[in-house]
Symmetry: C2
Subunit: 187 residues, 2 copies
């Protein structure tokens, strides 16, 4: 059983809905013995899905490092983080329920932060991001957007709307010119 | 037993930590019969705390309506919403656990939205807020900030930092001049 693109979303949904390995096997069209050989426990399956999701986002960060416009690269990656989190919402909670042996949230956050840091650094160097913003700030804001929109009828659309507002600012008082930027940096 | 300012925070903390009416009475320095006369059930107590919190925020909105600077008024109110939510974090979850008879979340949201709408309308009229932003957007973003920072060692400080970033924008591309504003309004 390979958890891959076309089936991935359906599998996520099943896993998060608390489906048994047997139900997942039936949906994937394979025998439950095959599922069980690859994923001896439900926890192993959850962890694989979670690890795969983080790996994909880290891969995206590497790809985007080559984008000429550093602002576009960073914002595209943050948008990917939101889209991925919306798709797999409930995954972290499901892992937490499986008990203390499971892959913990801070491991995931650390991997994401490492992946996003070069994109943020480049955006700050290019002056399209205030220099006091940290990667931790960005991940926290993205997590907040996902959590606040998860019960919305259209979570992906709503999360994207909240993301656009956060990027533009609710009420940016005025543009920062170079002198202002220097002031902000000194804070 | 009056749930008022000086004792309110300690009481919130006790209630949310799952304290019994007896423990609350002991901490408040009154007999448990007195507590029980005012709040026959733990649910009644939770609902009173929750209602009081919403009333305070509605009162704040009315006070701030007189502030000359409409941007300051709106941002101050949003900041108050965050501070109040950080203090009473867990309250909504506690109410939800008490069962389906309890005051529901959408009632609270509706009251908050009604209170904030005049502040937002004035800010949009004054051109300090983009006209496509809704009060629902603002409340959703504030909820996200509170949820994303609730496990932080210093949730109030962290939530305020996230609020400031959201107001300023992660990367506002440029200032809106009057022509741009008109374009945004037409969207």
């Amino acid at each position: 059983v390979r958890i891959q693109s076309a089936d991935a979303r359906r599998n996520y949904a099943l896993i998060l809905a608390g489906a048994s390995l047997e139900q997942i096997a039936r949906t994937a069209g394979v025998g439950s013995a095959t599922v069980r050989r690859h994923f001896p426990t439900r926890l192993a399956l959850l962890e694989t899905v979670s690890r795969k999701r983080i790996e994909e986002l880290c891969g995206r960060a590497h790809e985007l490092a080559d984008t000429a416009d550093s602002r576009v690269a960073l914002l595209q990656w943050l948008s990917d983080v939101i889209a991925s989190s919306v798709r797999s919402r409930g995954l972290a909670a499901a892992l937490a329920l499986e008990g203390p042996g499971s892959m913990d949230e801070s491991t995931c956050s650390a991997a994401l932060e490492d992946a996003g840091t070069p994109l943020l650094d480049r955006a700050i160097q290019d002056g399209v991001m205030a220099s006091h913003v940290t990667i931790d700030d960005l991940i926290t804001l993205m997590v907040g957007i996902v959590l606040a929109t998860e019960h919305h009828p259209e979570p992906a659309t709503e999360a994207d709307r909240m993301f656009q507002l956060t990027v533009a600012g609710l009420s940016p008082q005025r543009c920062l010119d170079d002198a202002d930027r220097a002031t902000v940096s000194r804070e």
